[in-house]
Symmetry: C2
Subunit: 173 residues, 2 copies
């Protein structure tokens, strides 16, 4: 009896895996469907600074935008579109008041990087990501890729800044 139960459990798990992976394999053959970046580009925390940002309202985040060498070169030369190999990383943190700093300043004015909220990447590969303007998008939370469904909004939103090759962040001098 126990064996049958275990077998049933195994079948249910397998069915779940097949159901979960099938859409992905269909998408791989469909060039119109978005492909997302699912591995964290190595070494990104050592990349150079592009700029900083603060999103108020619901996001309530403060962030640093970093670029790999290809990205920094392209930004500094001001040439668009960004070449293949460009990777841009947005490191987001809670926009956290700093009690420690405010005590010294004598007023509530200081906000710092709190708990990391997510890391987002844009990877330029005009062939692989042709369906999404040449960019592969990614969001990682606690080192794991966010659900694909949540990343479907990346391209339509970024596509509204076509004049900047889909990139929102400008270079800070």
């Amino acid at each position: 009896m126990k064996r049958i139960t275990l077998l049933l459990v195994a079948v249910v798990i397998l069915a779940g895996i097949v159901a979960f992976t099938k859409p992905a394999s269909i998408h791989a053959d469909d060039s119109a469907a978005p492909i997302f970046v699912t591995t964290i580009p190595p070494g990104y925390r050592d990349w150079r600074l592009i700029s900083v940002s603060h999103e108020a309202a619901n996001l309530n985040s403060i962030g640093a935008v970093l670029g790999n060498d290809v990205a920094i070169k392209a930004y500094r030369e001001g040439k668009l579109p960004y070449p293949d190999g460009t990777i841009i990383a947005a490191l987001h943190y809670e926009h956290a008041p700093s009690a420690e700093n405010n005590k010294v300043f004598g007023q509530a004015q200081s906000f710092v990087a709190g708990k990391p909220t997510n890391i987002q990447f844009m990877v330029k590969d005009s062939t692989k990501y042709a369906a999404t303007g040449g960019w592969g998008f990614a969001t990682f939370v606690d080192g794991k890729p966010a659900p694909a469904a949540s990343m479907k909004s990346c391209f339509p939103c970024h596509n509204q800044t076509k004049a900047n090759d889909l990139v929102f962040t400008h270079y800070a001098p």
Copy 2:
């Protein structure tokens, strides 16, 4: 007559140089007087990220804090005090609303790095800057050092965070 005028001009210039340099040479012998950093550390814009910050109220700035290799190593190892050779750079910009981003988001939520306001450095040299906790302080506006009088407040303020070796910024993961 022309020669005498030129000679007089030269004497006046020399006297000016002597008068201007004398206080500096006195200070060099006076370990109690603060010494400020007056040249911009080369290559700082290529340094790695320590963290980001937002100062509201009068400052209204958003900033990136970068560190040279010695600084990044010390931060990642979490060892205090920071070793001689540590340099920390704070790049400050106007905390500027981004009309471009807000248009896409459909609401006023996005703030980016506006016009640069200043760049501040802390340089660790426990001998040279013994009078100010081992740190040399600097503020540059448009590439030029801020008046020495305006920098006298650096040390007393930073000295309030003695537990962090006078450094306010914590490392963002």
